[in-house]
Symmetry: C2
DNA sequence: GTTCCGCATGAATCGATAG
DNA sequence: ACTATCGATTCATGCGGAA
């Protein structure tokens, strides 16, 4: 059978590019697609009312190329239109079910760094949906890979480790942080719950969307093993593929925009 | 005009009992209705597929008795049916909009101490929806009443405004400048966001639903003033009415079950 | 090497103003 | 009346430079 090249960032529209991939190929599809009406200059700005029509053609291909035991994670949040939360995401969930997807779970990503603002009739929006879809009730899940320390306060800290912390950890030596790390590791580990608490680090200046690396890291660990194949069909600046490579997974990223495509290749292959 | 007695816990079905109330009467309706299929012995167990039909008849009365500037808070979470999250809550949101409600916002209640458990293919469910509906785009909201302490890092910065802050302030008109600056420097309190993080205390043994008093407290403070009238049409063990009384709001609670009704009266009137 | 401090800015939203 | 653009508001955090 023809096997496409993996560990590759492809330029183009995911719906078209995926046609050259065999069915039942990927173990995990994880993506944060352009939100409705959000990125006018970069994606042509899909209107909220036309969003589902646009998205369902893509997701139909996702369904085909995902393994039967695979998982599809969709990070999305509806915006406020005319004072109300728009319902297109709710409708999309139901349309995806009609397309054959099982809506297994909805994780909440609690963004600690949400956009500022003060309005007379609403507070700051601090969360996004991470919708989990599957093709079958039986799917691969490796819960042990994402266990966290038992204490709530510590759990937050672990989920929220920034690269600065990681760098210091890597430098080892007798830094305070290193000592703390070993202390945490001695504590009892428990399974997390379906609320993910992490900062929206936005270092990637080239890309307007905040997609913290902790998010793909969590789901890649949870739903794949080493050498499994991960797809991000809207790979943007390459956060998903970068984490996949770091975690020794195979990856395919697809990106329509030439500049992001270039950036994604750079970021994925650095160190 | 006939004015029904307030500060009262009524025995009966809310749809029927509300008929004796005038239109545009309540400032806030907040409730945690029996979830689909969850409380078979106490409510006859509304099936997930028939839930909306059942609920929409009630919410139609809610719409009538709520003031035009009032708010309806619905605490609800869909259950897992056959391995999938059921979509009846999503459908309910859209049906409520057809009924005339505006879906203003969705708050997330992050339950810190939800029941432990281990399943092969999902984690602990640690959140519920608190859906905000309104009759008009203009509604009463008292944001200052629910402000929370600022993070330490932010407090420090406020004590020591830097040039960047000054520059951003300088772009404003003169009149705003002075006023706002002093407000900032004295600020230890900031506005919360739309993720509520509170423990699910379940002291009320008599009632099966966990509805921590912090939840009605937050929304009562946010959407009403003293002497405003609060309704909980599924008052259960009386958490909402207890908090309403404590906060010097008027209240009506309605409960179908005789034992809960008795319990709600007791708990509401205890100091 | 560590701690502290200053700085920039973000998947936002609203209301006013302009065309 | 309806749409497009613009200014104002506001908090958390990572980063870099200094002590």
């Amino acid at each position: 059978m023809f096997r496409p090249k993996v560990n590759n960032i492809i330029l183009g529209d995911c719906e078209q590019r995926l046609k050259s991939f065999p069915s039942n190929f990927f173990d995990l599809i994880i993506t944060s697609p352009p939100y409705a009406d959000a990125r006018k200059t970069t994606y042509g700005g899909i209107e909220a009312d036309k969003y589902n029509e646009w998205f369902l053609k893509k997701s139909n291909e996702f369904f085909r190329v995902l393994k039967n035991t695979g998982t599809f994670i969709l990070n999305i949040k509806e915006k406020v239109v005319d004072g109300e939360r728009h319902t297109y995401v709710l409708e999309l969930i139901m349309k995806l079910r009609e397309q054959g997807w099982l809506w297994t779970e909805e994780f909440i990503w609690h963004k600690t760094t949400s956009a500022p603002g003060k309005w007379p009739n609403r507070f700051r929006d601090a969360w996004e949906r991470c919708l989990q879809f599957n093709k079958n009730k039986e799917f691969a899940m490796y819960q042990e890979a994402v266990m966290v320390p038992a204490k709530e306060s510590t759990k937050k800290r672990m989920l929220n480790l920034n690269e600065n912390d990681l760098a210091r950890q890597a430098s080892k030596t007798q830094s305070t942080f290193g000592r703390k790390m070993s202390a945490w590791q001695n504590r009892e580990l428990v399974y997390p719950d379906n609320v993910l608490y992490m900062a929206a680090e936005c270092k990637n200046k080239g890309h307007s969307a905040c997609f913290p690396s902790k998010l793909p890291e969590f789901f890649i660990k949870l739903f794949t093993q080493e050498n499994d194949i991960v797809l991000d069909p809207f790979v943007g600046s390459g956060t998903t593929t970068q984490m996949a490579r770091k975690l020794n997974r195979k990856y395919i990223g697809i990106e329509l925009n030439e500049e992001y495509h270039k950036l994604a290749i750079e970021r994925t292959n650095q160190d």
